[in-house]
Amino acid sequence: MNSTAVRPRPLRWAIVLGMTILGVSAVVPLLFMVQAAFRTQLDWAVAKIGLPTTLTLDAFGRAWVQASIGTYFINSVIVTIGAVALSVALASTAGFAFATLRWRGSRLVYFFILSWMAIPPLLLMVPIYVEMVDLRLVDTYLSVILLYSALNLPFNMYLMTAFFRAVPAELAEAARVDGASVHRIFGSILLPLSVPAIATLVIFNALYVWNEFVFALLLLHDDRVRTLTVGVNQLQGKFFFDYPALLAGMLITSLPMVVVYLVFQKFLVRAIAAGALK
């Protein structure tokens, strides 16, 4: 007997219920942060979950100004833009070199870079810290910008190479016959075509850089350069009793990427799929 036809309905609804609870649990952190951030400290002491009895934006103000979340936010924006732009730019030129240009050693260099894709970066924290001290880069945006770019580069390069290779070779060939220079082939023909691939990488890399914590903790000690994730960690100590402000700070940390996910979901999923189906 075909069990699809007689699948017991209670089981089916139990599965739907379980999956719904799981889905709701994914939204709970956001809801929890929102309801807490609108409370006064007194209100929080009385009750920690549910509709707040007071509705005040004070916690956001305390987080943004007194806890320097405003500064951290700007730092996170600078680091994210810097690291993503650098990594994607280098991945594009390298991808072009491997996929389109003909030169000796192309294969070797390609596989050499690719082979570092799976290394867990945290295991490298000791020498990376020492190297950054030696280069006098600790407490600069540049330290994390360079590091994040490097850590993402093997994957980015892989994706750009795959993309450029999928472009019909006739395009570059025709340009060559017309006497176009290497830079022209890259800048006027291939780069404009690769906007979707670049968008995919930008979203995917931004999510990593914005949320990265350990290297930011290791390399950014000065309040003027700290990013949001380290800032939230700081906030815990600074605002030990001011939970509404702490949660407002965490909400400010989380919202930009939630919005990016809402708007660019397609690109994110594409990047993950490309990474998984290689």
Partner: protein, 305 residues
Amino acid sequence: MTGAGGAPAGTRRRGHNPLGSEAKWGLMYALPALVVVVVFVVYPFASIVVHAFTRWNGFSDPTFIGLRNFEFLLRDNTFWAAFRNNVFFALSVPFQVAVPLLLAFLIQQRIPGWRFYRWTYFLPAIYSTIVLGVLTRLILQVDGPFNELLNGAGLGGLAREWLGDSSTALPAILIVFIWANFGYNVVIFLAGMSGIDPQLPEAARIDGANQRQVLRHVYIPGLRRVMEIVLVTSTINAFAYMFTYVFTITNGGPGFSTYVVEFDIYNTAFTAQRLGYACAMGLGLTLVILVLGFFQIRALTGGRE
């Protein structure tokens, strides 16, 4: 974007008389990426390999001490306690492969509410790990919302200091870890499923296969590569991406009971200033991960063809 298995086109048409400028510019275009990877990934890795055999405090020059770090490592109780916790987290990996696979299958079958699941399940991967960790600690505090909920529901007897005892703190970290990663794996499986020819499950159903048989005989064989990737990445996560959870939720405590190896490396290097020893630990863990990854891939692909 997925058909990238082969080698680059570099040497494909050797007889074509490659333009002299291409031979020169090829390396120039690849060089910046190569330099950045070498300086910030390859060099640190080489540094770990070299310094694992030294005594080094980060200020004075390292001294070569042969295998002594590794001899010490074998007898280091803190390290092995931390490693045991990593193994504990890694034991959840089969679950982390099977459940997302099932969830992805149900979403693929358009179970009621599938759009909602597909949208929400990825959210945990969007939140920063530090936000999830701080939230967990805050929610599980003695006077935190979770105990408040229990009291409100008349279950006050169950309320306790969840993070004050390793028998509840470790499972708490595990649950957050699993929850934070499951949606990512669902998305990977969904992507893999969309790559399977829809005529295959259709044909199986016409032949009278039920849902379970379709999953088992059509989807699972078709997703072998994807399962391999999820299995290996989930294992690597359990060994090398636990730091932030532990740092924020328990800070390793109570005592050393929720240490993981990364946390031990961090403290050994930056609190105890024993950098050479920390490098030895890093090298050891890298080897463990490589070996595990190798055997997992063997286990999944071996004996199939």
